[in-house]
């Protein structure tokens, strides 16, 4: 691999890592887990697709990331089932509100923000409360601005499913945030 290509990949990863982290933290509700997932996704992209160009890296990276988030969910669900089966109960501590881990540079904790009723905290609560597929569809379509076809490829589902998830996500979010603005 040419040094130029390595620099390009470095530049690309630097351009997506923060958004990827934010997206993953919303999905997992845990900053450490999110960092691990983003790192695994970076490693996978660098190992498997270093020769691709920048235009291809973006959808590839997000597809890897979404798959890793789904894997994390499945693993978590399996562990949870085993805990119930072994009579250890379902550890509700694992189901933390994602807002608990969101850092605020101004020193305002998510709890404070929620108490203060800020729009930001409520938006995060609403996003974190979405079912995973709706959350993925919304963030990929609305935030990352992938079109329906690209989002379907990233989420490994049909374009029709993407449209349904996206539409339902908007309805849920609007309902959760009703009255905040109009």
């Amino acid at each position: 691999m040419m040094k130029n290509k390595k620099n390009q990949l470095d530049h690309f990863l630097a351009s997506v890592e923060k958004r990827a982290f934010q997206m993953t933290r919303l999905a997992t509700g845990d900053a450490d887990e999110a960092l691990d997932i983003v790192q695994d996704s970076m490693l996978y992209l660098a190992k498997k697709y270093p020769q691709h160009n920048e235009a291809e890296w973006r959808p590839l990276f997000y597809r890897i990331l979404q798959n890793k988030i789904k894997d994390w969910y499945r693993k978590k669900k399996t562990i949870s089932r085993w805990r119930v089966w072994l009579g250890m109960g379902n550890n509700n501590d694992d189901e933390r509100d994602p807002l608990d881990t969101i850092a605020d540079p101004k020193g305002i904790t998510p709890e404070n923000a929620t108490e203060a009723g800020t729009l930001r905290a409520m938006i995060y609560n609403a996003l974190a409360g979405l079912p995973l597929r709706q959350q993925q569809a919304f963030l990929l379509r609305a935030w990352e601005e992938f079109d329906t076809r690209e989002t379907a490829a990233i989420m490994n589902c049909s374009e029709g499913s993407v449209k349904t998830h996206y539409s339902r996500a908007i309805s849920h979010l609007k309902k959760s945030l009703e009255g905040l603005w109009s």
Binding site: L119, S167, L173
Partner: protein
């Protein structure tokens, strides 16, 4: 599926603004760990391409040409061999045709060979 309304667009815009603001204001510890993760991902990649005597775009045609050459020589060796034998026979036939010897001589050639061998043994 419902079509987006202007209200939806405003709503989406607001959500995006909030998400973008938070990305820009991620704390230093998270940024540092992301930086480390990126460096780790890139660490396994070589800085430069391993030296190759042939540029990659010439490798496939060169391999194809070499394969064709090998196949050609294989064909010449294995298929060409019976032809060579045939050519030798043809020379034998030509010798017979253009020889002054009686054709019966060639019909009894085995006998004469045996006779010569007997004479040599006796001598």
């Amino acid at each position: 599926m419902k079509k987006h309304t202007r209200e939806d667009d405003l709503f989406i815009k607001k959500v995006k603004e909030v998400l973008d603001d938070d990305v820009e204001s991620l704390d230093g510890a998270i940024r540092s760990r992301l930086n480390q993760a990126r460096n780790k991902a890139l660490a396994g990649l070589p800085d430069s391409e391993p030296r190759q005597s042939w540029p990659s775009r010439f490798r496939l045609p060169a391999f194809a040409a070499a394969s064709i050459a090998v196949m050609f020589f294989a064909v010449v060796i294995f298929i060409g061999k019976p032809n060579q034998e045939l050519a030798v026979k043809s020379v034998d036939d030509a010798d017979v045709l253009f020889s002054d010897e009686d054709p019966d001589f060639y019909a009894e050639l085995d006998f004469y060979v045996w006779l010569t061998e007997q004479d040599e043994n006796a001598g």
